[in-house]
Amino acid sequence: MTESNAAAIAATRETPEAHRRALLWQVVDDYSLIGIFVVLFAVLSMTVQYFFSWDNVVGLALSVSQIGMVACTMMFCLASRDFDLSVGSTVAFAGVFCAIVSNATGSVVIGIGASLIAGALVGFVNGAVIAKLKINALITTLATMEIVRGLAFIASHGQAVGVTSEAFFTLGSAEFLSLPVPVWVTLACFVVFGVLLNKTIYGRNTLAIGGNPDAARLAGVAVDRVRIAIFLIQGLVAALAGIILASRMTSGQPNAGEGFELNVISACVLGGVSLMGGRASISGVLVGVLIMGTVQNAMSLMNIDAFYQYLVRGAILLIAVLVDQLKNRRQSR
């Protein structure tokens, strides 16, 4: 009785057209961003000189590799309804610190290790303050952004710190299967964090926390622990990005990565990650990063003044958020 009843209800309430329409919208929602990127790429390939060449595409990938790595972890942060402004400072500090420690110890490995630990520590402090002391993430990371940037300047006396070891530079410039190492690292990040988000309890719990932290806690999610882990990993990956950036620039620079955090967050939002938490997809973030990089690259190729590039970036972000808003509104009306 109950089964046939349920089936009857499903049959009367879900008309075939309605169902088909729902599925169609689902597909549009899921793939619209990828479609936009493909069209954008095709149009630029046909209209912008030098855009569609292997060298340019590799250059494009290299230019977004730092943003890409950190966007992976920022996705977790935003998905859990948090925020992290400190990543740009961590990038700078990690580069400087890695250079200083490498020079002092004569070992690049120790330098890299120390720098990664320092980055993780910054992340841990962020996470612990936010999760345990219940201080707003925006404020907390705004404070650590200033503090860590200050530490980078203090440690370097405001100067770029050159690295003496040649081995350090290979990290940023070596190629493997005709792709530079930083691009491989970024791809690895997308794979690892994609699996983490979709296939592990950690990822699912991150989304649950973002959706409703109180309900997640009552459902047995270790909310504080997950939040701390999110920030700790974010610090670690930001430090990795900083080390690779320093290697590419052959020195640790205390003013590196200014505005980096906002570019990363923009890429995530462009990729459909909800600032309200609970919604994120790794493919979206990948496309978001690629759209940012592609637009930047094309503007440079077209010799558009760098000052105007700010306007374009801002406009793209605004449009992306509007589209997202419209999608949500359609779903709930």
């Binding site: 109950t2 089964e3 009843n5 349920a6 209800i9 499903a10 009367t12 309430r13 879900e14 008309t15 309605a18 169902h19 329409r21 729902a22 919208w25 699996v195 979709n198 296939k199 592990t200 309890i201 699912r204 719990n205 989304l207 649950a208 959706g211 409703n212 109180d214 309900a215 997640a216 806690r217 009552l218 459902a219 047995g220 999610v221 270790a222 909800s274 309200m276 938490g277 609970g278 919604r279 779903q331 009306r333």
Partner: protein, 508 residues
């Protein structure tokens, strides 16, 4: 124009992605009458109210007021047309006072500043005139849910609405608050307002309503111009579409050893030490007035709120203090009272909401979520508990309250070693059919040896479902009755504050 009804819905249809919420629904409400709207959860009542309130735009059909077709494009249009819809989910500013909430947007000013004294006097006067006992200066967040609801209703009255729709207004009101509300509704009827009254409590419908309409699965199945001579069973049968002889359907069970033992537990909101025990297979109903401290105790037992002292044991094993995951590991779980705030994760799918806890026992290689197993689990509970959803991937916020509740219950049913289930107001705001289904789940669990604690403010439910009734008043357990000795009089008497001092603790 004179013989046109005050409010008329004509052939309303509304489709959401994947769900036909309403099809060809129409009914009319006369001025100076209270029109009951009945139906199970998901029957389309709330959707109808959102159309009336201008929140949804119907795909087909129209709304007419005094014979004139009105097209509401947004909530403000409805308000301008004299419509006030008071939803189950209240809309208020928690940080502001009663007075400020009532006067939001039109506080009286003096020299450009808010004239607090005049505002206060005005608010007091209006509240007194309506017979509503509220402190105008109290912040909304300090009030009980019932009191907040009164503020919403008063706000609508003060806006001079001529059409007033109340969606489940009494679901979180105390008896006294309900009386005040009923008096208000009758006064408003006498003033010629047209009112729509949605409730799952049939006695309220009979007590208040002049006419009624019944919805089922997005269609109108019955209209009653008068409720005189209509029986309760007739209404239920039309709502559910099948006969439910006894909605409680209780059957006696054997009880085993003590499963849950709570000793001298205290917490921030539990100042007095509380102790009780529940046996395997036993359903214990906790009854008391709103604010008696039942939810507070259970939250501390589960670990949702901090336990400052005392001992909680499941099958003799001690549960770590204020540690939800330890409670779950020992098979002690809790379904909270406020589904939307504490129960569901709205933007996640039905399947995610069901699998969030139990998935830890089904990982592949100890690390990866087993999607196939989770899909199977979700589908089996959707079928078993008759959760109405187009598919398991639907965001749970789009489901009706009763179906959300069933999903939250499924979350705990999926725990393979469930021993103690605490449910807090499990059937609040849920229709008869779904209530019956939820009771059956509780019986089934009890029959499997689970110890069940059910907090409920509905006396018939407590008496109808429980093997034993525990009453609480002002933070302490005042009495216990076994099923045979519990009746409305003695349970209610033990739960009322007057009796707290005089009645000795009885053990059945």
């Amino acid at each position: 124009m004179t013989d046109a009804p005050r409010l008329e819905f004509r052939h309303i249809g509304k489709t959401f992605p994947g769900v036909r919420a309403l099809s060809d629904v129409g009914f009319a409400v006369r001025a100076g009458s209270v029109h009951g709207l009945l139906g199970e959860n998901g029957a389309g009542k709330s959707t109808m109210m959102k159309i009336l309130g201008g929140e949804y735009i119907p795909d087909e059909g129209e709304v007419a007021i005094d014979g004139h077709v009105r097209h509401f494009r947004k909530a403000a249009d409805a308000i301008d047309a004299g419509v006030a819809v008071i939803h189950q989910e209240l809309q208020y500013v928690p940080e502001l006072s009663v007075m400020e909430n009532l006067l939001l947007g039109r506080l009286p000013t003096r020299f450009g500043l808010v004239d607090r004294r005049r505002a206060l006097a005005w608010t007091r006067e209006r509240l007194d005139a309506l017979g509503v006992d509220l402190d105008p200066r109290a912040k909304l967040k300090q009030l009980s849910i019932g009191q907040r609801q009164m503020v919403e209703i008063v706000k609508a009255i003060l806006r001079d609405a001529k059409i007033l729709a109340l969606d489940e207004p009494t679901s979180s009101l105390s008896h006294r608050e309900t009386d005040v509300l009923f008096r208000l509704v009758r006064d408003l009827r006498a003033q010629g307002k047209a009112m729509i009254y949605i409730s799952h409590r049939l006695d309220e419908i009979f007590e208040l309503c002049d006419a009624a309409t019944i919805f089922r699965d997005g269609r109108k199945v019955a209209d009653f111009d008068t409720l005189e001579g209509v029986t309760r069973d007739a209404l239920v049968q039309r709502m559910v579409g099948r006969e439910i002889s006894d909605i409680f359907g209780y059957q006696p069970r054997e009880h085993g050893d003590v499963r849950l033992s709570v000793k001298n537990v205290t917490g921030r909101a539990v100042p007095l030490p509380v102790s009780f025990e529940v046996r395997a297979g036993e359903i214990v109903g906790f009854f008391g007035l709103v604010g008696a401290g039942r939810s507070e105790v259970m939250r501390v037992v589960y670990g949702a709120d901090r336990r400052t002292a005392g001992d909680v044991r499941v099958d003799g094993q001690s549960i770590k203090r204020s540690h939800i995951r330890d409670a779950i590991r020992h098979g002690l779980v809790f379904c909270p009272e406020d589904r939307k705030e504490d129960g569901i994760i709205g933007v996640r799918s039905v399947s995610e909401n069901i699998n969030i806890s139990a998935r830890r026992n089904h990982l592949t290689a100890g690390l990866f979520v087993n999607d196939r197993n989770e899909a199977r689990t979700a589908d089996s509970y959707i079928e078993r508990l008759r959760i109405r959803t187009p598919h398991r991937r639907q965001e749970i916020r789009l489901l009706s309250g009763g179906n959300q509740q069933k999903a939250v219950l499924s979350r705990w049913l999926a725990e393979k070693d469930l021993r103690v289930l605490i449910v807090d107001e499990p059937t609040r705001g849920i229709d008869v059919g779904a209530k019956n289904e939820i009771y059956n789940v509780l019986y089934e669990l009890a029959a499997r040896g689970v110890a069940v604690v059910m907090i409920s403010s509905e006396l018939p439910e407590v008496l109808g479902v429980s093997d034993r009734v525990v009453t609480m008043c002002r933070g302490r357990i005042t009495a216990q009755f076994d099923r045979a000795s519990a009746n409305e009089q003695n349970v209610l008497a033990a739960a009322l504050p007057e009796s707290a001092g005089s009645t000795p603790i009885r053990n059945a």
